[in-house]
């Protein structure tokens, strides 16, 4: 018989309560709730229970209470227990075993999740409603949650798979993270990494999504977990391996959900990047990678070039903190004569055309715009005219005629050119067993991709002795190291005619006399990447500890319980001199002082203050109100509206105009409604007021604010909007000093100082277009500007902005992108216009006002 008291002693010792509670059958903490005045007197409580309480029906512990409340408790507890001895005791019907189970779980961390599939804290994390209600999580689960189907650690632990490689405490432990277990490029590279890592390290493989490669990964790992919230779930996975993780490799930019875990636990990591920024959205994936990775390893220099803007924008030191390591070595292989002939025979049989003597050109990959399958087809059409003996084969999946983004059109295209007809020169094969034959049999591979980092299929084709034709500036194989091999021909980007010409000029494949095996050496990717990280960590010469002045969340939440985690994320970015947030006001001042750009010489920083009405100059206000739902509220919340000499409101319909007029009248205000088309977000309607005959008239001082939903659709947006208005206007009783500041004759622009350090981002691409129209060179980084596009401004500054674009500029119509348009550029140019007018720009800080 199992001694259940021994089990209690083991866990109670772990929890450090064995002295206060030698027996699980009586819980002084629980019983103390009957006698709060004696809650710390254990002896009294026990005595009271024995002498009076028990007879009086008082409960000795939680189990005593719960079992009296419901008969379903015991089977539910039985299901939760994972401790082998306790489970056996329950199965044997040992008296007190279920009571013990309940009392052990009720001890909470670390006991609960060590002996059961229930964690008090995980339950509260998963169900904030229960946390908010202050209900005991175990009580809730046993009485209600189980019946409601609420989840426990058992569900979470189903995403934890044991790997085939035994954990060894003597080895270092690393995480290999992939975004999914699909049989696609990045996960295949991840598998190579895990395979190699498992020779020398304990490996935890993390995937955000499950897929067909799961079992392959399990062969090369000690643990495999599939989770899209690693920060939370890692707390609850079981196994010593999770207790000390030395470093991680996140393979693909899509692994960014790993960052909160890695940053919170100070686990250094390399991001191995295969993706171009041109197609990686939302932008924050790339920004967070650049901010938090200790080292970024790119698969090619061409990919790194694509990241150039993002890296510059956050102050990432490209030379120090990044390097290039291709996932495979580039080696030209060969195919033996018999293998070549057999492959061609099998393909001939499959496509119904004799391919024994043709010039065979292959393409491979999922059918999509990015891979340029359509261009591949066009090259085939061109070659059909020039050399009927040239045949194109594309091997890959993804042709879906119902996909109107691509499949519909390529399907129709292929039908028109007679793809698959033995009389024709284009054939499509599904991915699968014919892949090696296609490569062996082909003379060349045409990489028709529009953007493709370093596709594995090219390495495979090289192994099989194929030459490669590709577009310049389209793939990582455009790096000089590949061009120097002589195996690659780069032609004008996106030009199928140039590709066809290059293909027809290539020598045909010459099979070798003898059979050849795989030529490329097995990759030593993991070794190289981990060595790069080691070197980087060793070279670090600056560290910072503690909370910097500006506390705004990046990876973590703004809640008080995440304060330490927010400190951790800032420590890391400051350590590497990367920046998404300003560190403190001193840093803003120092950066402005250090800048030699003409704009920054007239940028000033000032603290928020309130002023008397007598300090405020005469001013007008412009509200752009595409949405109207917050106007009434704003009019009440900000006294400044009531002091404006004029309030001009631009909106796009008479109905909205009437609505706004009514709201204003209800507050005793008069709105001048100007109807405008929905064009140019909030800012073009404002700038247009200042054109000849515009509603701005000769008024000198203006406040521009707007109701755009881009600021207000989310909780975060609401907070941001309140932040801006509070600094610009004050509140219902007070007036912001910003209003007085714009009254200073030497000031042309007043805006809130944003804690975020917002760079040019996609607007950088527009700078060359406007360089000749701007009064001087733009800085490397704008440093300060009215982020959110709400500000106080003097009339000449707006006129200067209008002059940059002229009266006939072709503004883009809605819908427009979230970044990189003229309107986003204008937001960044206001300080330049103010300086151009020989006026100062003042940025007002108020660090106690929540920004995000």
């Amino acid at each position: 018989m199992i001694d259940i008291d021994l089990i209690w002693r083991k866990y109670a010792t772990t929890a450090g309560i064995i002295d206060q509670r030698p027996d699980f059958r009586f819980d002084p903490k629980f019983y103390g709730s009957y006698h709060p005045q004696h809650k710390d007197d254990i002896k009294f409580l026990k005595c009271h229970y024995d002498q009076e309480g028990k007879a009086g029906g008082l409960k000795a512990n939680l189990y005593d209470y719960l079992s009296a409340a419901s008969s379903d408790i015991n089977p539910r507890l039985t299901k939760l227990v994972t401790d082998a001895d306790l489970a056996a005791a329950i199965e044997q019907g040992a008296p007190g075993s279920l009571e013990l189970a309940c009392e052990l779980i009720y001890l909470g961390e670390p006991v609960d999740m060590a002996m059961s599939n229930f964690s008090m804290s995980a339950y509260l994390l998963a169900y904030p409603d229960i946390a908010k209600a202050g209900v005991n999580p175990l009580l809730h689960y046993l009485l209600h949650g189980a019946a409601e189907g609420r989840q426990t650690l058992a569900d979470l632990r189903q995403s934890q798979y044991a790997g085939d490689v035994a954990y060894s405490p003597d080895r270092p432990t690393c995480i290999i993270a992939v975004h999914e277990f699909s049989r696609t490029g990045a996960p295949i590279v991840g598998l190579d990494l895990a395979r190699e890592a498992s020779q020398t390290h304990n490996v935890i493989v993390v995937s955000l999504l499950n897929g067909p490669l799961l079992d392959e990964f399990r062969k090369h790992a000690s643990e495999v977990v599939v989770t899209n919230r690693p920060l939370i779930d890692f707390t609850f996975y079981s196994g010593e391996i999770f207790s000390k993780i030395d470093f991680a490799i996140t393979n693909s930019v899509e692994c960014y959900p790993m960052f909160p875990l890695l940053v919170s636990k100070n686990i250094p990591f390399v991001s191995y990047i295969h993706e171009y920024t041109e197609y990686t959205y939302p932008l924050y994936k790339t920004v967070y990678t650049a901010l938090f990775a200790d080292m970024i390893v790119f698969s090619s220099d061409h990919v790194r070039q694509s990241w150039h803007g993002v890296l510059r924008d956050v102050g990432f030191d490209k030379d120090r903190d990044s390097t290039i390591i291709p996932q495979r070595e580039c080696v030209m292989g060969a195919v033996d004569g018999p293998g070549f002939l057999e492959a061609r025979e099998r393909l001939s049989e499959r496509v119904g055309r004799d391919l024994s003597n043709v010039r065979l050109v292959c393409g491979a990959g999922h059918l999509q715009w990015r891979k340029g399958t359509d261009i591949f087809a066009m090259a085939a059409q061109i070659c059909a005219q020039r050399d009927p003996n040239t045949v194109f084969i594309w091997i890959g999946d993804g042709l879906n005629a119902e996909d109107v983004n691509f499949g519909t059109w390529i399907n129709y295209h292929l039908r028109q050119l007679g793809a698959g007809d033995p009389e024709n020169n284009f054939f499509l094969l599904p991915a699968g067993t014919l892949y090696p034959d296609v490569l062996k049999a082909s003379d060349a591979m045409f990489v028709s991709s529009r953007l493709d980092p370093l596709p594995n299929v090219v390495f495979d084709a090289l192994d099989s002795g194929c030459r490669i034709v590709q577009f310049a500036n389209a793939t990582g194989f455009g790096d000089q190291r590949y061009l120097d091999t002589g195996y690659f021909t780069s032609v004008e980007y996106g030009n199928p005619e140039a590709a066809a010409t290059a293909i027809l000029a290539l020598p045909r494949k010459m099979p070798t006399a003898e059979k050849t095996g795989r030529v490329s050496a097995p990759p030593r990717l993991f070794d190289r990447i981990s060595a790069v990280l080691d070197e980087r960590l060793k070279a670090q010469r600056y560290f910072v500890r503690g909370a910097s002045e500006i506390d705004v969340p990046m990876l973590f939440s703004r809640e008080a319980e995440d304060r330490d985690l927010r400190t951790r994320e800032r420590e890391k970015t400051i350590r590497y001199s990367r920046r998404l947030l300003w560190r403190d006001i001193r840093e803003v001042r120092e950066e402005l002082a250090r800048s030699d750009n003409w704009i920054h010489r007239k940028c000033r920083i000032a603290p928020y203050r309130t002023v008397a009405q007598s300090d405020v100059p005469a001013f007008s206000m412009h509200i752009h109100a595409y949405y109207t739902d917050e106007i009434a509220d704003d009019l009440k919340k900000y006294r400044a509206y009531h002091l404006a000499q004029r309030i001009v409101v631009t909106t796009d319909s008479q109905k909205k105009g009437d609505e706004i007029t009514q709201m204003m009248e209800a507050e005793g205000l008069k709105a001048e409604i100007v109807l405008v088309p929905n064009k140019g977000r909030d800012i073009l309607p404002f700038m247009d007021l200042f054109r000849e005959g515009g509603a701005a008239g000769d008024d000198e001082i203006w406040c521009h604010i707007h109701q755009k939903k881009s600021l207000g659709t989310t909780d975060k947006g609401d907070i941001w909007r309140r932040f801006l208005l509070r600094i610009l206007l004050g509140d219902d009783k007070t007036l912001s000093g910003a209003i007085a500041k714009i009254g200073d004759e030497d000031v042309g622009l007043v805006a809130p100082l944003d804690p975020f350090f917002i760079p040019w981002n996609a607007s950088r691409n527009l700078l060359p277009k406007f360089a000749s129209r701007l009064p001087g060179p733009m800085p490397e980084n704008p440093l300060v500007f009215p982020i959110g596009n709400m500000f106080w401004v003097r009339r000449p500054v707006v006129l200067a902005m209008n002059a940059v674009f002229g009266d006939t500029y072709s503004w883009p119509n809605e819908p427009i992108a979230n970044d990189g348009t003229e309107f986003h550029l204008i937001e960044r140019l206001w300080p330049a216009m103010s300086t151009h007018c020989d006026l100062n720009s003042v940025f007002v800080h108020k660090l106690d006002e929540q920004r995000a």
């Binding site: 500890r545 909370a547 910097s548």
Partner: protein, 162 residues
Amino acid sequence: MLIINQRFLPCWEESNALRNWPGPHVLIIYPDSGLSRAQVVELNRCFIIIEYLQSPINAAGLFGDVLGWLDVLQREDGASILFIDGPFDAGLLAEQSERSAKAPNAVEAEMAKDGRVAMLRFGQMVATSPLLPEFFKCLPDPTISDAILVELLQDIFHWEYS
């Protein structure tokens, strides 16, 4: 590895004091340093810098940070660790270097009047032990006083041939 703090800086250039302690030189900067960012950048050319935006509550916190971040560097350096809180001259380093050579397995400390560690030296055998950074990671109570920390270190790491 030599770990010093901003209070050493006034006598830095005059004394050329650091020549007697080869290996990495770590400069701890506290929030009251008064150093500008530009000065910190300049100092970073000569020192590995650990900047505290709030003062560490005790030596355990400080050494936990230093040995956590510089673990690999320290093991590769393979030499003793000396921490000095305050100004000193080349002579003091020479003396410490000599004592360190004689006691590679010792943890020696001098305490200041306020109970804080004024000087702490880990002999080479202790400084290069892989257990040293682990010790700081596993401290059950990171708020322990400097005196108790020194006692614990001496209990665990200081050994002698019998």
